[in-house]
Amino acid sequence: MVEETWLGQLRELFEAVVKIDIRNIKFSLINIQVNSNNSSKQFGYDEDGRVDSINLKKFSPTEKRKIGELLREAQNEGTTLLLKESQELIKDIKLKEESSDVKPLLEFFKTKIPPNDYNALRAAIYIDKRFKEGGKFGEIYRLKGDVARKYDGRGLKICNIYASGYFETMIKPLYEEFSQQGFDRTDFINKYNIIVNEEAFALFVRTDMDGAEVKTAIKIKMSRNLKYGRRDVTIHGIGRSNAEKIRKAISDIEDEKEFPNFDKHIEETGNIILAKLSF
């Protein structure tokens, strides 16, 4: 690996400062860490005997100024200066994104949903994995806060949709269904946006739910939405069997006449059903 110019100058500086033959100073060509603490050491070595850390507190103001100039030069030449914890986070994110249970999903959605949503999905995956690994409440809360600050409520909805498994069980099949019908991406994005925007007040019907469970789930959602000031619910389903269960459940609820202002609007496109109930 070719040594950068600034790194060569850093070596010369060290020779002048610590009075060691320059031939004996080898710098790590992978990582140099800058510390500023009260340890007694001026610099640290890796297992191969290369200098891999510098303690700024142990250098004079003049020497520090020179080191600073060299760091600026390094940054100017393309080196990124990065907080050690952030470097560790990058490694952890990459590791998790390579895992067999998420890599295919990320590859699938990479160009299919808006770029900000895609990055929110990546964040959602990381948060979900940290949670399942036993990440403490404080950490998970902080990470979700990061997502909320960057992507507002939409980012948090994407986190919830991912954690509930709906990217795999609803949105991916939705895209595949549209793909089979003479694809218009606008149609998919419109439906996708409904799923995301209505996340908190929507019901996603799964194949493993029987008819009675679908009806109960719809009624529970209606009650919950009403409690929080919403007089509507959106129901999503994919597949003929789910569509039938949803239609039947809606019909039964309508017949019960529990809600005087009950109204329904059902759209079916191929095997996709989207039902909006107001009450």
């Binding site: 990582n31 140099i32 520090k64 080191i67 760091l71 390094a74 940054q75 990124t80 990065l82 952030s86």
Partner: protein, 77 residues
Amino acid sequence: MVVITFEKSAKEEILYFFDKTVDEEGFIVEKDDITQKVITPDGEEVTLEEFAGIRKGSEIFIKSDLPSIIDLIDKLG
């Protein structure tokens, strides 16, 4: 390419090397003009606590939150 990381304890020294300081509210500002806060390419101001580094391209400040680090992964390649 060598990666230069730094510990939290070195944050202010690193900023000093780049002619930056921290104002009373904790935001990173230009040393010669403390009314000028540094901003990320997204236009966000950066506090000392959020500061996670500087990338090439004039001075591109990096924040430590999860979405910013995910963005950085793509930029670093």
